[in-house]
Symmetry: C2
Subunit: 281 residues, 2 copies
């Protein structure tokens, strides 16, 4: 069994490790030479190759580059695909990718996927085994993929101990904006708020503790990953940002009026998040 | 050595445990009978007593009630204090408490303290040993406390393996607004944003993963703790909320204009948070 992984960062490198464990011979491709060699040195892949050479004999091709690169590569890869090869992507946005290849003759060989897993780290050094275990794998527009391709990847994800769920591409992107992308915006903005303050008050971070770390952790995330995600999911993300800022304004108004009852009811309602995060995550 | 802890929640219960380890006989006081008995059952304190009885023979009195209750209790406790007793509070706001007792005859026996430690949980069930280890203990307005009282608590905090730092009360409150209180507002607002969406889309949380959990963890925090903190630190918090919302607006504007360069520079700047959270916390 041969597989090719294109893009050897956190996500690509981590799936390469899983594929190795499952018995695949894994060939890696990365536009950055340093990344490619680090992936080889860390044993994420068995060998390196050019994009074209890597497709020879691969039964599975995994596209795990940033979403802007993926948008360019996906149609090119479909052009180059041989019969029986299966291509998946692991991008955080699905609408623009699915649209880009909607009418491609080889569309049925492609399965649009998104593993709901990640960390704030990036690059091949961040790849870890077990990143996907017990997490959701989203498949979008399943009906546009061939039965063979879907069955192939479903079997793979089951072996990786993932739970496969099915979404329309636009629905996925909207959900991702609410439960992932806005968390990143919020963390970035929170980090910027305190970093700005630091310019006039060097010791502002001295008292920072666990709560602060938790809320700004995602602000460490890589711009080359997240700028294209935000841009491709722009409409949904703008909508969620507006909703989020409205909530902040509600808090601000209640605080300015010194309205204890309103503050209490906002917090009590927010406490319902326990129902979500104490169970599933 | 006898100590009294008033308020047996997360913070009071956790310091009671430390005091026990250090050889104190610890008497607990809590306005809620159920909390008091849970604290006794969990072994956080040796015995329970009324507020007045608990002060008999105690060399150290620790006030760890919510900040609104503390604001009322602090002057009353100073009224009741005997010579040589030392009183500390562990509240998250310091300005209003320090002001309230500024001219009290027994002010020197009081040391205004704030341990930079906590979790999103509350009540005696949340008390844990080691909560304060390696964390900062802030002492505010040290010059208003007697040398004896300061030396007493500094020795105690050293035994608890804490690092004592000194702030003016207002400076502490401003810093706390930046590195703690705004994180709570942000988490509450983020939780509300997605909970609102859930009303029209039941499955909105299905794809939530670690990043979401991290940013909303503090939204589980107790309103009875946080409403009075926000109110007592209202002016600083309003200022920080405005700064934070301005950052969100910068992100929103860049995204609306599809300005990749601006998004990238905002994120790169936010990435500097690594310098803070990869080291100290």
């Amino acid at each position: 069994m041969k597989a090719t992984v294109i893009g050897l960062g956190l996500i690509g490198g981590s799936i390469a490790l899983e594929l190795k464990v499952l018995g695949y011979t894994v060939c890696g491709v990365d536009a950055k030479d340093a990344h490619a060699h680090m992936a080889l040195d860390r044993g994420l892949v068995h060998k390196l190759a050019s994009l074209e050479a890597s497709l020879q004999d691969a039964e599975l091709i995994v596209l795990a580059t940033p979403v802007d690169a993926s948008l360019k590569l996906l149609p090119q890869l479909l052009d180059m695909l041989s019969e029986n090869q299966v291509l998946i992507d692991l991008c955080s946005t699905k609408g623009s990718l699915c649209s880009a290849v909607e009418r491609h003759a080889r569309r049925p060989q492609y399965v649009a996927c998104h593993p709901m897993a990640g960390t704030e780290h990036s690059g091949p050094a961040a790849a870890v085994q077990g990143l996907f275990r017990d997490r959701f794998m989203v498949i979008c527009e399943r009906e546009r993929s061939s039965g063979f391709a879907v069955a192939y990847v479903e079997a793979l994800f089951a072996k990786m101990e993932m739970r496969t769920v099915y979404y329309e591409a636009d629905e996925h992107d909207m959900h991702a904006a609410f439960v992932s992308h806005i968390s990143h915006v919020s963390s970035f903005a929170l980090a910027l708020t305190v970093l700005d303050k630091e310019e006039s008050d060097k010791a502002i971070f001295q008292l920072a503790a666990g709560g602060f770390t938790s809320t700004v952790r995602l602000a460490k995330s890589a711009p080359h990953t997240w700028v294209p995600i935000f841009r491709q999911n722009r409409n949904h993300l703008l909508e969620v940002m507006d909703a989020h800022m409205q909530k902040l304004v509600q808090f601000r108004d209640a605080l300015e009026r010194d309205d204890a009852e309103r503050l209490e009811s906002l917090m009590q309602r927010a406490n319902e998040i326990k129902r979500i995060i104490d169970v599933a995550l």
